[in-house]
């Protein structure tokens, strides 16, 4: 007989979400729904009628971990719609910004993932806050990596959180030779730290995959070999940066995208029948309460070729590097493998940058309502923004953000896992629930009253 257990809220990821899990007598997930319960902010609706310059600055505020992704994707969607090609040095600055943001984001996610993991060869879980070695050195390295990345982001982007420098047509400012040198020095330092951090994290995740059990709520929970496996496809536009409809050979295809409502995808109303007061910290939802994923989910369900897909570091590795490690740890390891490329990306781009080159296009067309899109490979995966700009104003705007793509995919990946490890699977996706929850207009009864589809 199946039982239903609910973990609400989930922790150690960005935003507000919950897990509704149907489990068998052994506590193994038969069908899991992971859903956003973050209030919808409706950025896409309020963008309509605003200027093409303002909307990317609003879109940035969807999330403070990956504001770079939303700023760049939105700006480039505007540029794609109006047909504006930006100067090369502006693109190099954006590229450095992109690498810097990914570096900081992955390092931040290490902090969120480590508490589930064990020091290799021991039964000691890792507490990133401990003053004891070897963890202390790791925490300090993570902090320095993030400091380096945010400083570089600040120099090229104008601001590390909500970058001010990008604008429709390029960038407001180029940087000085002194700033160029500073980035170079920081990236060189970061390259070594990134290498060390990547090796450490990969060893930790491999160790977890090889363990037989993990301790949760005072119990030894078995770790299945296929923890977090799924059979969905992958979607990625580029190894590092992205693509847009201005490209000669775009790598994302709007006609392959469709979207369904949570109603078509999630479970119906369920009563909670399994409760665990020891689940850290504060227990699971009390038995007898109701959950209704179909109605409570605050995101749409985007599909690619009619299927939910996985986006993110592994999707990029699968698409561009023949990567083949599956499961939750496979995803985590792929993320660590991106570390060094971020540092090298900064070094190469800052080397190529001409600090006296122009960074704003000579002409910025005002648009005739043509559909343009831009895909940015955010730290968490492919972030596609679509826009129609006419006379400088946004007539239509849509954001398909990484965690939105991953919600249904990750839900499928929960099947077969002990319910106590469901959050470990979720965290492997590095979810950003605020990012995911920006669409659909919902009324006070949680009914969807408006929803957009690509014409």
């Amino acid at each position: 007989m199946s039982k239903v257990v609910e973990i609400s809220p989930t922790t150690r990821h960005e935003g507000h979400s919950k897990l509704v899990l149907k489990v068998n007598d052994e506590g193994i997930v038969e069908r899991g729904d992971w859903l956003s319960i973050t209030p919808v902010r409706g950025v896409e609706k309020l963008a309509v009628g605003k200027s093409m310059h303002q909307v990317p600055k609003i879109a940035s505020r969807v999330c403070g971990i990956c504001p770079i992704a939303h700023t760049l994707a939105a700006t480039e969607a505007m540029e794609a719609s109006v047909g504006c090609y930006v100067p090369e040095d502006a693109m190099l600055l954006r590229y450095i910004l992109q690498c810097a943001n990914r570096l900081h984001s992955h390092a931040l996610h290490n902090i969120l993932s480590l508490p589930d993991m064990y020091l290799p060869g021991t039964d000691t879980k890792i507490n990133p806050f401990t003053p004891e070695e070897p963890v202390r050195s790791v925490a300090l390295r993570i902090q320095r990596l993030r400091e380096i990345a945010q400083t570089v982001g600040e120099i090229v982007g104008g601001e590390a959180i909500h970058p001010s420098n990008p604008r429709v047509g390029g960038m407001y400012k180029n940087i000085t030779p002194r700033a160029q040198q500073k980035i170079y020095d920081l990236a060189k330092e970061g390259r070594i730290l990134a290498h060390e951090q990547s090796e450490f994290m990969i060893a930790v995740f491999k160790n977890f995959q090889n363990r037989d059990w993990a301790e949760v709520a005072g119990r030894q929970v078995p770790i299945p070999d296929d923890l977090g496996y799924h059979n969905q496809g992958y979607m990625a536009a580029a190894p590092i940066y992205g693509s847009s409809s201005l490209d000669d050979n775009p790598t994302w295809f709007p006609e392959r995208w469709t979207e369904v409502r949570p109603w078509d995808w999630y479970m119906g109303e369920e009563e909670i029948t399994l409760e665990d007061k020891d689940y850290p910290v504060g227990g699971t939802t009390p038995a007898g309460e109701k959950a209704w994923p179909q109605m409570q989910a605050c995101t749409g369900v985007p599909l690619y070729d009619g299927q939910p897909v996985e986006v993110g570091p592994r999707a990029r590795m699968v698409q561009f590097k023949n990567y083949d490690l599956k499961g939750a740890m496979g995803l985590q390891i792929a993320r660590q493998m991106e570390y060094e490329a971020c540092a090298y990306g900064m070094i190469e781009a800052v080397d190529a940058l001409n600090t006296s080159g122009k960074v704003v296009a000579d002409e910025i067309p005002q648009g005739d309502g043509t559909l343009g899109w831009a895909a940015n490979e955010a730290p968490r995966g492919c972030d596609v923004h679509l826009a129609k700009v006419k006379d400088g104003k946004v007539g239509w705007f849509s954001m398909l953000v990484p965690t939105t793509w991953n919600f249904p995919t990750c839900s499928r990946a929960l099947t077969g896992a002990p319910w106590e490890l469901a959050e470990v699977i979720v965290r492997a996706y590095d979810p950003c629930v605020s990012c995911a929850t920006h669409m659909l207009v919902v009324d006070e009864n949680k009914k969807i009253v408006a929803q957009k589809l690509l014409e």
Binding site: I155, G158, N165, I175, T176, R178, A179, Q180, I183
Partner: protein
């Protein structure tokens, strides 16, 4: 307390003739920044540089002595130097910022350090804040009216502008000198200056002005630990000639008198704002 907290006060002037040539007074600001740049105390300074229009300053980040020299001299109109404060740490890549400004601009710097609203990474990057004395300032159109209409000279031909001895002075390249009574200029003052309660840049590391010292010399207050460090090193390096303030005329008494006059007058304006309307008043930023 009208002169703020300070550790020492002297009369001084730069020992560098090239700096003195185009400086407003003793060339203190330009000399200090040139020295600090050379020594690595700062890696750039925000100064009021030249712009397309005559005597209209534009804030710039000077990283060379030549750029500092180009910014010498007082422009009696607004130069929003703080507008570059954050940017200096961004696309300019500075780690140690020098900044010159009027008392209100020194207040802005300190406020950004203590309450950095939208000023991430600014607080720890201020390396040397040099304040200049300031009685009042003028919008650019005011300056045009004063110089072109009242003094009857074209701004393009002006070599130096000065306020002193109760008069506004304009010196032209070709040697003419015009002076008008300050009274005439009052209606052109920036209204915001009328609630200003700081004359000698109380919040700067080092502040300087012309009042108190003889022509070609400056009065210098060394205020903070940081200011004292830099000043001491610059003196040791032979950057400045100094005289005890007690030995120069008109000396500190005049500075104190003018500071008291400014504060007393503006304090009254501030108080009058409380009852400006019928049954209601205007905002007071100090409360």
């Amino acid at each position: 307390m009208v002169l703020g907290n300070y550790k020492s006060v002297v009369a001084a002037r730069s020992a560098d003739n090239e700096i003195l040539k185009g400086a407003q007074d003793g060339g203190i600001v330009t000399q200090l920044f040139a020295y600090a740049l050379e020594e690595g105390i700062i890696d750039g300074a925000i100064v009021a540089g030249p712009s397309e229009e005559p005597w209209k300053p534009e804030p710039v980040i000077a990283t060379t002595k030549a750029e500092l020299l180009a910014a010498r001299g007082t422009k009696y109109t607004l130069s929003p130097n703080i507008s570059l404060l954050k940017e200096a740490t961004r696309s300019y890549g500075l780690d140690k910022i020098g900044i010159v400004g009027t008392p209100c601009q020194m207040q802005a710097v300190r406020k950004a350090q203590l309450y950095p609203v939208g000023m991430r990474d600014v607080p720890d990057k201020i390396a040397l804040a040099v304040g200049i004395f300031c009685m009042e300032n003028f919008p650019y159109q005011s300056l045009e009216a004063i110089v072109e209409d009242h003094c009857n000279v074209k701004l393009e031909s002006v070599k130096k502008l000065d306020i002193g001895k109760g008069k506004f002075w304009a010196y032209t390249e070709r040697g003419a000198v015009t002076q008008i009574p300050l009274k005439v200029t009052h209606k052109y003052e920036q209204p915001g200056c009328h609630v200003c309660l700081d004359y000698v840049s109380n919040l700067a590391d080092i502040s300087t002005g012309s009042v108190g010292a003889p022509d070609g010399w400056s009065t210098v207050f060394v205020r903070t630990k940081n200011g004292e460090d830099t000043w001491g090193k610059a003196i040791a390096a032979g950057c400045f000639e100094t005289k005890p303030i007690e030995e120069v005329k008109p000396g500190l008494d005049l500075v104190k008198k003018l500071a008291t006059d400014k504060i007393t007058k503006n304090q009254k304006t501030l108080e009058a704002r409380a009852t400006f309307g019928v049954g209601k008043g205007l905002r007071n930023p100090y409360i």
